[in-house]
């Protein structure tokens, strides 16, 4: 019968229309500013810099190695390396970024910077309501705005943060163990040098 297909199709439309009153499945629209979809743990928007402790400036993990600047596909990161060094979280002397800018109007949220960073210092934020009327100054994020605490990172990506904390702890433990071993070896060497005829250190320790 001519028109049968159309009538069937109309039936389908009616089913969807009427169904939207009773079934949440058929009414999928979210009233955005009032209602919000839950964020996924893996969600990524724009990068931020992680700092440990209280001071965003002193606790910054970034050592200004500039790998992310080089690897960033749209080249939106701008780093100026510091002239002096300071103690980092591992207790080693390291450079720090004097300037760290990200132009988020150019950033394409690809997460390459996070992946290539060997220091767990740049991570992806989930903040997305960043619209601004000023394309240049308004979307150029500088170091003070970029620095966010590790607690913030734990809150937005709990799983990843746990992994990153573990990796850092392992690194620190490794460095400390190495430092300890180095110190011991040094002490041993010094002891051996100063008093070659002295009794072995085990013996003195045993006393």
């Amino acid at each position: 019968m001519l028109g049968e297909g159309i009538i069937k199709g109309m039936g389908e439309t009616a089913r969807n229309f009427l169904g939207s009153y009773v079934s949440k499945k058929r009414l999928t629209t979210l009233q955005y500013p009032e209602e919000r979809a839950p964020q996924f743990p893996n969600a990524r928007q724009f990068p931020f810099l992680v700092y440990d402790g209280e001071d965003p400036e002193q606790g910054l993990r970034c050592v200004s190695c500039q790998i992310c600047e080089k690897e960033c596909p749209p080249k939106c990161i701008y780093i100026v390396k510091s002239k002096d060094k300071r103690v980092d979280y591992k207790g080693q002397m390291q450079f720090y970024p004097a300037t760290f800018n990200i132009d988020i109007s150019v950033c394409m949220s690809c997460q390459i910077c996070v992946e290539v960073c060997p220091f767990e210092s740049i991570k992806m934020d989930t903040e997305f309501e960043l619209s601004s009327t000023d394309r240049f100054a308004g979307l150029l994020v500088r170091k003070p705005q970029l620095a966010k605490s590790n607690d913030h990172y734990r809150k937005i990506h709990p799983h990843d943060a746990a992994e990153s904390d573990a990796a850092l702890a392992a690194e620190v433990a490794k460095v400390q163990a190495k430092a300890k071993a180095d110190a011991e070896a040094k002490a041993k060497a010094a002891a051996a040098k100063v008093a070659p005829a002295a009794p072995p250190p085990e013996a003195t320790l045993a006393k």
């Binding site: 600047e69 080249k75 939106c76 990161i77 701008y78 800018n101 990200i102 132009d103 150019v106 240049f136 100054a137 150029l140």
Partner: protein, 224 residues
């Protein structure tokens, strides 16, 4: 060496590239063919074809009952600018009466040329790829190659793109115009020595070359 064949090299499983080459020279005497090696794990070697016989070879490959390469998947250009190529050769050297092989690096000047590469497959026989290469004489005035569009129409837009971006002229192409760039454009952007026009737009995170350019355009805003 001639029978070295990885799983990727010429999936025909019927013939090696050498056999195909022999058959072409048998059917088309005078055709100058050369196998271009490929040292990557993909092992996809290719066949360098001369200009005069390119059309005939393409037709043969398409219509041959065994090969039936009726589908040209990919046609593209490559720009090889003039360069010094370092090649390692093993040389027997006699030292203290003992013959030893010593590797030596030889510098050779490679003259620049443009290349068109065609990846051929068979829809009928479901095999491939057989890769054809055509090379121009140089990068300036001898840049005409025979078009393979009369054999495979899938080359029509792709050859136009090669003409547009690399500047290879295809003799026998039915409609050779620019395709991605606009008609008034003069240069060929995919060439290695292409210089971008100096139309810098301010951005707050300039780098290296862009930074230099930014300094000339916005001296007040760019800090040194």
């Amino acid at each position: 060496m001639a029978t070295a064949r990885t799983s990727q090299d010429c999936l025909t499983n019927v013939e090696t590239l050498e056999q195909i080459k022999d058959r072409i020279t048998h059917v088309l005497p005078g055709a100058r063919l050369e196998i271009v090696p490929n040292e990557s794990p993909s092992g996809q070697r290719s066949l360098l074809v001369d200009h005069e016989h390119a059309g005939a070879i393409a037709t043969f490959l398409r219509d041959d009952a065994e090969l039936r390469l009726d589908y040209c998947s990919n046609a593209t250009g490559v720009d090889w600018p003039e360069a010094v190529v370092k090649t390692k050769i093993k040389k027997p050297v006699v030292t203290d009466g003992v013959e030893k092989e010593v590797e030596e690096t030889v510098d050779a000047l490679r003259s620049g040329y443009l290349e068109a590469v065609y990846h051929l497959y068979s829809v009928a026989k479901k095999h491939g790829p057989v890769i054809l290469r055509l090379r121009t004489g140089n990068r300036t005035d001898k840049v005409t190659l025979p078009s393979l569009t009369p054999v495979w129409r899938s080359c029509e837009y792709q050859e136009r793109e090669i003409f547009d971006l690399f500047g290879i002229k295809f003799a026998g192409h039915p409609d050779l115009r620019r395709i991605l760039m606009w008609d008034g454009f003069v240069d060929h952007p995919m060439r290695k020595d292409y210089v971008e026009p100096d139309d810098f737009e301010y951005e707050p995170t300039p780098h290296d070359a862009v930074l230099e350019r930014a300094k000339t355009h916005y001296p007040s805003e760019v800090k040194t």
